[in-house]
Point group: C2
Chain length 134, copies 2
């Protein structure tokens, strides 16, 4: 399999796949006689794993740890579980934060005329309690 096929199947870009190889996140791909990278299903699986982990909110370092757990034949599920639960907590915090942001934004929009005039609560809201701006 060539790199663009792996990209298609994993949802990563070819750039990203080469980048992951470059930083040692995955083993270097084997090469064909023409020097092109060749991938098997195992490599594809690892890249899919990484794409999925990233998508779910793990950063590269965390994804690397998970991938190591996966590759480790004597893998410790307790470790994986605590990583995942920790990440779930982080996601909840992020969700709450985004909800708050959205409430602020919707409240702003609701109190804004939306016509061509200058009367808009949005800008005043963002300006906050600091008094008039220059």
């Amino acid at each position: 399999m060539q790199i663009s096929e792996v990209a298609r199947l994993s949802g990563l870009t070819t750039k990203t796949i080469r980048y992951y190889e470059e930083i040692g996140l995955v083993d270097p791909a084997s090469r064909g006689v023409n020097g092109y990278r060749q991938y098997d299903v195992g490599s594809l699986g690892q890249l899919r794993f990484l794409a999925r982990a990233r998508d779910v909110g793990f950063n590269l370092e965390e994804s690397r740890q998970l991938l190591e757990l996966l590759r480790d034949s004597g893998r410790q599920s307790a470790h994986a579980r605590s990583l995942v639960l920790e990440k779930s907590d982080q996601l909840q915090k992020k969700i709450d934060q985004l909800h708050d942001m959205q409430a602020v934004l919707n409240n702003m929009a609701r109190r804004c005329n939306g016509d061509e005039g200058p009367e808009c609560a949005i800008l005043d809201e963002l300006a906050g309690q600091a008094g008039p701006l220059s």
Copy 2:
């Protein structure tokens, strides 16, 4: 007011304030005889505005646009309103995405023993449909 005071009152760091000046997001601060940056309430207000906008999820370019709307005496509230509503939509998408991620994580954790053995659905789940990894 010196920069550290402004930092304290705005919630930005001194580094960030200098950075915002460097990239032209705010006008260069006036300087005292010693060369130190001097701020008035107007400058503080602008920086608070930016801190708030960033906090609410606008990136620097969007924040810059909002700040310009604020400074523009003939400001167009419709523009501000559409920016805010668009951002709110983006936030909703992000929130939905995070909810999905969290469901995946929680599902993984639920199906994982959590003991020291290798039987853990988390890693298999992340590996997805790609078959066994190398």
